[in-house]
Every structure is written in C-alpha cells, then in structure tokens.
C-alpha cells in the first residue's frame, strides 16, 4: 500500500530552510568580509595620500627633490577592480558599496588636487585625465568600451593617471568637479588639458589627443575604474 511520509517531508522542509538560511548567512558574512577588504585598502590609500599631503606641506621648507615619489598607492588599481566587482555582485551590501565608492571618489579627487598643486610648485608635468562614466541602464552604451580602452592605455603607459568618476554619484565634491569643467551628461566624457571630450575614443584617438603620452617613462601608478 502506498504511504506518504508527511513527517519526513516536514523535517526535510525544515532542513532545507535551514540550509538556505545558512547559505544566506555565509553569503552575507563573506560579503561583509569583502567590504572590509575594500575598507582596509582604502585606509591604506588614504594614508598614502595623507603622506603625500604632508610632504607637500613640507615643500615650503624644502626643495622639490625631497618630495620623492608622490604616486598613489599600488593598491588603487586592485581597489578599483574590486569596487567594480562589488558594485555588480554584492547586492545585499549595496549601501556599503555605495559608501565605499564615494570614499574612493574622494580619494581620487584629493590626489588630483594634490597632484595639481605639486606640479605647479615643482614645475613637473604629470600626464593625467579625468574620466566620467555612468552605470545607469541605457544612459551610456559606450562607457564599458571606453573603460576597456583606458585600462589598455594604463597598461601601455603605466605613468598615466586616470581619475574615473561615476557621473551619477551623489557626492558634493564630485558635483563641484563636474561644474568646474562644465561636464554635460553626454557620456563617456574625458577631460584632457582642462577640456572635455565627449564620445568614445579609441587608443589611437587618445594617443593623438595626448601626444605627451609618448614622453611617459615613469612608474607612477594610478587607476582606471571601469564601469
């Protein structure tokens, strides 16, 4: 005679729910660990920038030669990659990721300001660009492609500084930067030589617009944060 093991079905249901909840817990714990990893890296970068700022403050009392390497932390490249990944994959930690992204953008702006001051004071000509992108659905179909080009450019010219910003990020400092360069929401937008260029640019286009790339021989590191 056929029988259905109702009790067993119920126990198995409880076990399955327990496994599902455990999976959610494990996923959440690992997600938090990843957020912590990014935070730790950002702290390191922050210390690097503070160190550079301190060096800059000391410039008035010493010569440019004593400033040394003002490059951003090597962590920044991997930090950018991790932030991009976290933005796509850590759905349950969206708030944290957004906070980290803002923090990252601020670090970039701080470094950008410091780098500009340093170049004026020490008469050096750093090669840099500002890149504005958007992750909003459908608002920038070419941003991913532009990100790939800038990453390639960074590999080819490690001395190039690329400061990348999410145009839609709600951050006062970023809004100021956008209004400073009068960036229109026609993304991707790249600021080179204080002038905004719109639309997708290939590696060759970028090399034409920035002939100074050919002069890059340094080991300065920076980051390209792709969409």
């Amino acid at each position: 005679m056929h029988t259905a093991d109702w009790k067993k079905y119920f126990y198995v249901f409880l076990v399955t729910v327990a496994i599902f909840l455990t999976a959610f817990f494990v996923s959440d714990t690992l997600g938090n660990k990843k957020i912590q990893d990014i935070q730790t890296m950002q702290n390191r970068v922050s210390i690097d920038i503070l160190s550079s700022e301190t060096q800059f403050a000391l410039l008035s009392e010493s010569s440019c030669e004593t400033v040394g390497d003002t490059s951003l932390s090597k962590d920044l490249d991997s930090l950018a990659a991790k932030l991009s990944y976290a933005e796509v994959s850590l759905n349950s930690n969206k708030e944290d990721v957004l906070w980290l992204k803002k923090n990252y953008s601020l670090l970039e702006i701080k470094d950008y300001v410091l780098m500009k001051k340093l170049s004026e004071r020490c008469k050096v000509k750093p090669v840099y660009l500002l890149y504005f992108y958007s992750n909003a659905n459908g608002s920038c179909p070419d941003c991913q492609k532009q990100g790939v080009v800038l990453t390639e450019l960074r590999k080819k010219y490690p001395g190039l500084r690329v400061y990348s910003f999410d145009y839609d990020l709600d951050l006062a400092a970023l809004k100021t930067l956008v209004s400073l360069y009068k960036i229109q929401p026609e993304l991707p937008a790249i600021v080179i030589h204080q002038r905004a260029e719109y639309g997708w640019k290939s590696v060759e286009d970028m090399e034409k617009i920035m002939p100074e790339l050919a002069t890059l021989t340094g080991t300065t590191t920076e980051t390209t944060k792709e969409k």
């Binding site: 005679m1 056929h2 079905y9 959610f24 494990v26 997600g31």
Partner: protein, 415 residues
Amino acid sequence: MSEFLIVVTNILLFLTLYMQVLLLYTFFEKKNVFSNTGGNGESPLKRYPIVTIIVPVFNEEKTLGGTIESLLALDYPKDKLDILVVDDGSTDNTLTVANTFKTNPQVRVFTKENGGKHTAVNLGISYSRGEFIGCLDADSFVDKNALSRIIRCFEDEKVMAVTPAIKVHTPENILQQMQSVEYNMGVFLRKVYGSMNAIHVAPGPFSIFRKEVFEKLGGYVKAHNTEDMEFAMRMHKNHYPIANVYDSYVYTVTPKTVKGLYKQRLRWVYGFLANARDYREMIFNKKYGNLGMFTLPAAIVSIFAALFFTALAIGRFIAQIAKRFMEFQAVGFPTRFEWPHFDWFFVNTSETAVVVYALSLSTLFVIFVGKKLSDGNMKPQMNIVYFFLFYGILAPAWLFKAVYNVVFNKKTTWR
C-alpha cells in the same frame, strides 16, 4: 539578473535542494537497509521458484550470445530457470545466434513478425512457465548472483516486482564513462526510491515480476516507446509495490556516440513525460504515497529546473561572448599575456552561488555513495570529471527536445 529571474531561480533552487535533502535524509534514515546484501547475504533461499526470463530481441546478433550465456551462468538451479528468446522479426543473424542455444533445455526460441518490444515480451509471457517473470534486454548481461538476490526479496509477500542495479558494461570512451557515473547515481536513486515504494520505472534489464501481476493487470501496452515505465505506473495505480535490490548487478551496453545517447535519452524523457501525462491523476495525489507526492513531481520539476538553469547559463555565456567582442572592438586582440592569479575576493559568494555549491557537494556525495553501492569503493576516477564537464552540456539538448515533442505532440522513435 531581474527581480523576477532571481525569484524563479531561488524557488527552483529551493525545490532542487529539497529533493536532494529528501533523498539524503532517506538514505541515512534507512542506512541499515542499505548495508545488507540483498537483505540476508548469500545464504541459500528458502525455496527456488521457477523463474521465466524473456529476452526480446531485434537485430542484436552481436550481443545476444553474451546475454544468453550470462543467463545460463546464473547461480540458480538450472531446472528452475526458463529462458525464452523472442525474436521480434530481426533482419540480421539474430535468430541464427538464438537457435545455437536451443540445445540447452532451459532455452526456448520464438520468432514473430516485428511488432515492437512490448509485443515480444507479451508473447514470452503467454508461453512462460515461471512463478516469476522477468525480462532482459539483449544488450545486457547479468551477474551470477543477480537472480537469487532478487528472488530473496520476494520472500516478502507484499513485494510484486523487483528492480536490479544497472551498471554500464565495459565503459570504453569518455561518453560511456560519463554514463557510468550517471548509472551509479541511478543505483543510489533506485535504492532510495525502492525504500519509499516510489520507483516509477521497472527497467528492461532484469526487472522481475510475480506472474500474478500480469494475470491481473494484463501485459505490456504500446506506451510512447517506454512500455516499462507505463507498466510500472500501472502497477502503482493498482498499489502493487516495486522493490529494489541494489546489489543485484546487471550490466548494459550504453550508447557510444552522442547521437545514439541523444536518441536514447530523448526516448526516455519523452516517454516519462508522456506517461506522466497519461497517469496525471497520480501526481500530487496522496493516494499514491511517495510516488504521487514526491517522485513524479520531483522528476517533472527536475526537468524544468534543468531547462531553466540551462537557459540562464546560455544567457550568461552569450553575455560573456558579447563582452569579449566589445573588448575586441575597443582594443583588438590582447597584445600581452598575463598570468591569471587567484584572489578569493572574485569568487562568487552570492546567496544563489552558495546554495549551488551546497547542491554540487551533495551531488558529489550521491556520486560517491552510488559508486560505493555499485563498485564497493569510493575511489575517485576520471569519469566523475567527465560527468561534471559534459553531462550538463549534453542533457539539456534531449530535455528540451522531449518537452518540445510532448508540447507539440511529436512522437519519438526507438532508434
């Protein structure tokens, strides 16, 4: 992934996990049953009833000889064994091969016009002498202890049919090795389902029935080229229990080519869906116990879950291809080689991924337990790698076509 897809994914993952947990729960619950050899080891049976084994055969001249020889070598009294070879109108030398065994008093040979496997088995049933009747496909070979272990199971008078453990006969190429893992999992599943009285197929290779089953329910009927499935469903409909003996080994020749495997599996899956449709009143009907409430719904859900996850995987694959193409458009081929380096940060740790890891682990467990039941050891082999690499790619093809055929009422062919 859209919210809707996430919800569907989680529901299907939950159901899949539920099915896996129920199988494992039953396995551990009935562990003592699983640890016995046919229930009581190799001690003599209380009695040795006459058993008729029908070998329906169509154009299988190459394997028929081995099949009959394996039957003749069974560890069972010769005078209690009745072997009927029924040639279903073969066009090759099958009948000649069968006739060479006529000198054995246990072997009788019949020939008839081609009418399909079920007609050949029905003819055999009508000439059978045994108290128990079984069938052995002409591409399968039995272990010498297979019959006595099955007959021991009939000492429980409630048992009306017993299925064996089917293994792959000398797996040679990668495809057959992949199938051997699948068959080992089948040994595990059939054993678990047997303990729940929820086996929905009494397979062609060496399922044995009490003769009264055929007397009361009639013989096989044409049923979407999967008559053994239909018969098992009919038995359940009449509340006739089907048991399993996991160490009654039968070896079967499996397809060597992808095309052959595709056709066979298409027939099986289509046959299951079509028979499930014919017996739909049993699905989610508590009158049919675990079969109605678990096995049949689980099998149907598995098919649709597999198709859904395949569609997701194809979607991701296409997205990856599109991404690579976009990168190529942007910067051309990569000019410098970079060694990949492992960073745990980039391991997918989403809720869905963690559940999938848990499911993969439980599948691996089932594979190893199936191997233990089949081969007596859990030694890892390359065939497990082949299974994980290729099964997920191949199976969706026949699953999709089977569903398509059922929906649009297209028939499958035997060969």
